[in-house]
Symmetry: C2
Subunit: 253 residues, 2 copies
């Protein structure tokens, strides 16, 4: 083990030799709510994961089946959906992943009829925004944070109009500096996008998943590269951490 990892062990309050229990990052990032969230999934309810490459995670797109491993790819959505299908098995949930790599929020809007409304979801989880910032930053896109917020608001209004009872989950876009693609210069400008997403979550009273705060806690346990080599696309560890946080915040499991 190198010195840097030793420092993490020390910081996490773990003596390797002592074989102690490792503290849970999710518990540290999100202290237990005062009231336990009740279980809430109706019979054969449709759950939809939407977003960009982080949600896509290499999913097979020729069939786009629900409850199907290859159609889910290898990211947080696969792990979270697998947990839903296990934990709520008696309710026969129908879970889709329709994330597409490279998407910005306006591209979700372009395919929202087919990839959201037609599926009649009871629960829609959206993780979008990192490309709205990243592609603007590298000159591939001329959108602004104001456009991101306006497009995102319209997407939610459209969804609420078509599906009045839909429950929404808005996930915070995130980035981990000190990695192959992300440095400290991302932090401040990305914050504007994160705050826009947070405002929309409050405005529409959605569930909010603060992934940036989660990873801010995670990097006290292991280097940023352990969670996402390029700072944007989570590793296996990062995907599991995201799924655990999602499940805790949405279902209390």
């Amino acid at each position: 083990m190198n010195n840097s990892r030793r420092a993490f062990l020390g910081r996490a309050g773990v003596a390797a030799a002592a074989m102690a229990m490792v503290p849970s990052i999710v518990d540290a990032a999100f202290p237990a709510p005062k009231k336990k969230k009740p279980f809430a999934l109706s019979e054969q309810e449709v759950v939809l994961f939407q977003g960009d490459s982080i949600t896509d995670a290499g999913r097979e797109k020729s069939k786009e089946l629900p409850n199907n491993g290859p159609s889910f790819g290898g990211g947080y959505a696969f792990i979270a959906a697998s947990a839903i299908l296990d934990h709520f098995s008696a309710f026969d949930p129908v879970v889709y992943n329709r994330g597409i790599s490279g998407n910005k929020v306006y591209q979700l809007a372009d395919r929202w009829q087919k990839d959201c409304l037609d599926l009649k979801p009871g629960l829609v989880s959206i993780l979008i925004g990192i490309n709205d910032y990243w592609h603007m930053r590298n000159g591939r896109y001329d959108g602004t944070v104001e456009k991101y917020e306006a497009d995102y608001r319209q997407l939610i209004l459209t969804t609420r109009e078509a599906l009045p009872h839909v429950r929404l989950v808005i996930c915070q876009p995130f980035a981990l500096p000190g990695t192959t693609a992300v440095d400290e210069s991302w932090v401040q400008p990305l914050k504007a996008y994160q705050e826009a997403a947070r405002r929309l979550s409050r405005e529409f009273k959605t569930i909010w998943i603060p992934f940036q705060e989660l990873f801010d806690e995670a990097i006290r346990h292991a280097p940023a590269s352990h969670w996402a080599a390029d700072g944007v696309h989570p590793s296996m560890a990062g995907s599991h951490l995201m799924a655990a946080a999602w499940l805790k915040n949405v279902f209390g499991i």
Copy 2:
């Protein structure tokens, strides 16, 4: 919801309308041990998942990288390994999946030097046996349960000789009747293979993962097809359930 699922809801003690908590299948299948298992993973310890198609789960085989999503495929090994890399992040674990579809125990032996011993694992988890039975049953293989047990014993002896401190996990092969490939006529003959694996686990004092008992409990919550459409290859739900049982029995997490 059809009547059959309603029956499962009733049997699981869950009133859908009441939105109650769903009981945990893993907790029901494995009552809490008297003493909490201590955490046990050393710094940069190599963990290896070995087996057949259930472990393989479509993994990408050109690079066979550790801690890499595509190299892990989309089964229980991906979920369990992701959880290990998350929970024990400060210890920088190195986790491999080297399951290969169709393998019987003698085929593990053929590639054990490259796909186990050379990796110098501290922990090896093996799930093998369903093809030793299935391929014999359908006439593609002339092995017997005696050969399964003898080959498996030799594999463990070889492993213990080369890696004296290795911790072994033996997973029970399993099948779910009432599915597209498995009917009740599998139960008794498969039991002989399951008992052989159990004997070896006792003989070598390995950790034992009773997947058959786990799925026997799971089918009280949802139909067998929910957990494995063909009765052999787990669904997303079945993969998550296996990973949860594995993690609880191996690490107490």
